[in-house]
Every structure is written in C-alpha cells, then in structure tokens.
C-alpha cells in the first residue's frame, strides 16, 4: 500500500463522512442530519464521567500490551451496544450513575497500580462497566432527533476516546512515561471518586 492508496482511501472516507451529514434516504434508518450525529458524538465527550473512564480503558490497554491493547477497546463498544439495545427495549438498570462513577475509580486504580490480571478478567471488568455507559447512552437514544446517527456518533466518540487513551498509554515504554501514565490513572480514580460522592 502506497501513499496514493491512502490518498484514494482518504478521499473516499471523506465522501463517506459527507454522506453521513447528507440528507435522509426515505425508508431507511439514516434519517436526520448533522444534528443527530453531533449530539451523539458530543454525549460521551461532554460528560467528564464518561471521558475519564474511556481514556482509562485505553491507558490500561496500553499498559497490558497485546492482545489487551486492542481487545479492551473492542469489548467495550460491543458490551456498550448490548446495554444500549437493552435500554432501547426499556429494560431498566439500577445504579447507572453509580456504575459510571465506579468505572472511573476502578479503571483509574488499575492504571495507577499497573495491575495485570488475566486477559479474561480485564475483559470482564471493562465489559461490566461498559454496560453502565451503554445503558446511559441508549436510554437517550430513542428520544434523539436522529437515533441512527446519534448511535453512530456516540459509538465513534467513545472509540476515539479509547484510542486517545491508547496513544497516551504508549508512553509506558519509557520510565518517565510510566510515571505520567500512572499519574493519569490516579487522576482518573480521584475524578471517579468525586463523581461518586457528588463533589463533581
């Protein structure tokens, strides 16, 4: 693959993105426009409780290395989608906000102490917390102007936050970087505690 491949692909991707904000196609779910996509995209980003947990998933993946570095950011949106679908179906979930705050605390502590449980345990922890985030997003989805684009927006924003965490997690290979990553984990845990206690 050469640079030209990338340019051609990039141009096509731009067309895809342009199409996402284009007008509706009757008889399909892609009704609505930029507003639905933007609202969905901003939902995880404008909620600091969501942001810190998403970034922590990426950071922890960066510490754990392969295959967790891609498994965790893959498990999260899949579990989130299942919970979001449950919310759409009207299935209640108790303690959503508490679960979201706890996700910041637990995932932040995992990063702070660089804990390395077996992959399946890490996946289970991430998947369990994804349920709370997914339910919170999914509960707002049916009321959205454009539910389909809202869903696309919040899934993409969530994934991009994971990728941001992974990028920061790459600092782990340097000793000073490890200090920075641990510090970020500690800050995330503190933020989660603030959300849990209502201080933030």
């Amino acid at each position: 693959m050469t640079r030209h491949h990338a340019l051609a692909a990039g141009a096509g991707l731009a067309a895809v993105l342009a199409a996402l904000v284009a007008g509706p196609a009757a008889a399909h779910t892609g009704q609505g426009g930029l507003a639905g996509l933007t609202t969905g995209f901003l939902h995880p980003i404008t909620g600091l409780d969501h942001v810190v947990a998403m970034v922590a998933v990426g950071l922890w993946g960066g510490i754990l290395g392969r295959p967790a570095i891609w498994m965790l950011p893959v498990i999260f949106p899949l579990a989130m989608a299942v919970a979001g679908a449950a919310a759409i179906a009207g299935v209640p979930l108790a303690g959503v906000e508490t679960g979201i705050a706890l996700s910041g605390i637990v995932l932040g502590l995992m990063v702070l102490f660089a804990l390395r449980p077996p992959l399946w345990v890490a996946g289970l922890i991430v998947g369990a917390f994804a349920v709370f985030h997914g339910h919170a997003h999914g509960a707002e989805l049916p009321a959205a102007t454009s539910p389909a684009l809202y869903a696309a927006g919040f899934v993409i924003a969530t994934g991009m936050l994971h990728l941001s965490g992974i990028a920061i997690g790459y600092l782990w290979r340097w000793r000073s970087g490890q200090v920075a990553v641990r510090a970020a984990g500690g800050a995330i845990a503190v933020a989660g505690a603030a959300f849990l206690t209502g201080l933030a």
Binding site: A8, A9, A27, W70, P77, I88, A148
Partner: protein, 201 residues
C-alpha cells in the same frame, strides 16, 4: 485491477456529472441518486464498510473473489428487487445482523479467515443491499442508470474501506482497524435494536 485503481475509478465515477450538451440529465440524475443511496442508507453503509474492512484485512491475492462476489450479489438483488415479496423490514434486519457479524469478524476473528468466508459474506451483503434498494428513485421511474449508480456507490464504500484496512496493516494501525470493526458491530447492533423496537411503517 489494483485496489488503488479500483478505488480511484469508483471515486471518479461518482464525481462525473452528466454530459451537459445531451439529454442525459435524467439518466445522470438516476445514476447519482443510485450512487448516493448506499451512503445515505445507514444500514447499507455500515454493512458495506464492514465488508470493506474485512476484505482489506485479507491477503491481497484473496481479495478479488470477495470483490467479484459483492458485485454479483448486488446485481442479483437489484434484478430480483421487490419481486421476492420479502418485507423491507425483514431485509433491513438481515442487513443489520450481517453488519454485526462482519464488524465482529473485523474486530475479533483470528487470522487468517477461511478462504470462503469473505466471498460468501460479500455475496450475501451485495444481495441484501440489492434487494433493499428500490430502483425507482423518489419521483422518478426505475432506471438502469440508478442501478449502475448503486453498484458504483457500493463499490466505492467497499473499496475505500478495504484500501484503508490494507494500508493500516502495520501493527499499530491494525489495532485501529479492529477497533473500527467493533464500532461497526456496535452501531449495527444499536440500529438493529431500533429497527426491531420501531418497525418501519
């Protein structure tokens, strides 16, 4: 045909406008509306993006069969059209379920895939998109131009996603492709939940 050439050809075909000095405006408009249809029908878009990413993850020598299969499936679906009598809601659910599967394979499947997996899924994806596409554009009769446009638009999505996935073969970027696959599966799953909870009227 290389992936680059195919993607560029599909892109150019979309950019081309109707011949101004001739009476081809209706046909050109039909082509353009057809080409845009896979982009604005969200369930088609996620399905074709998933198929493209999966194709791009394959070794280069194994991509061609899938690319051919999606075209054959599309043509068969467009030809059969609504004559199959399948309700549109059923086809949409099948498309979204297929998109979940494709996204899941992109994200989680061990490599390499069995040689028949991608061509079979490509044929089914093309068939689904073809069956779910009305060749009569709103306010216009069915036309071959619109059918050609649908094929061009679908190929543009598949080839571009494949090109991106192939370009991202290096380990760091390959993580991004897997993550993108999980996004497609998640989005498709949510759309599936919406489609089931709010059946099209």
């Amino acid at each position: 045909m290389t992936l680059r050439a195919a993607a560029a050809a599909a892109l150019l075909s979309l950019a081309a406008g109707p011949a101004a000095a001739h009476g081809g405006l209706a046909g050109g408009a039909g082509f353009l509306s057809g080409a845009l249809h896979p982009f604005v029908a969200t369930e088609h878009l996620v399905l074709l993006l998933g198929l493209g990413l999966l194709s791009g993850q394959l070794p280069p020598e194994r991509r061609g069969l899938g690319f051919a299969a999606v075209g054959l499936g599309l043509l068969a679906g467009l030809a059969a059209g609504r004559a199959t009598g399948l309700p549109a809601g059923v086809i949409a659910v099948a498309i979204l379920a297929s998109a979940c599967l494709l996204g899941g394979l992109v994200a989680l499947a061990p490599r390499p895939l069995g040689w028949a997996v991608a061509p079979v899924l490509a044929a089914l994806a093309g068939l689904g998109v073809g069956l779910d596409t009305d060749l009569a554009a709103p306010g216009a009769p069915a036309s071959l131009g619109r059918a050609a446009g649908v094929v061009a638009g679908a190929y543009l999505i598949v080839l571009d996603a494949a090109a991106l996935a192939a370009w991202a073969a290096r380990p760091l970027f390959a993580i991004g492709v897997r993550v993108a696959g999980s996004w497609i599966a998640a989005i498709a799953f949510l759309l599936l939940a919406l489609a089931i909870s709010r059946p099209a009227t």
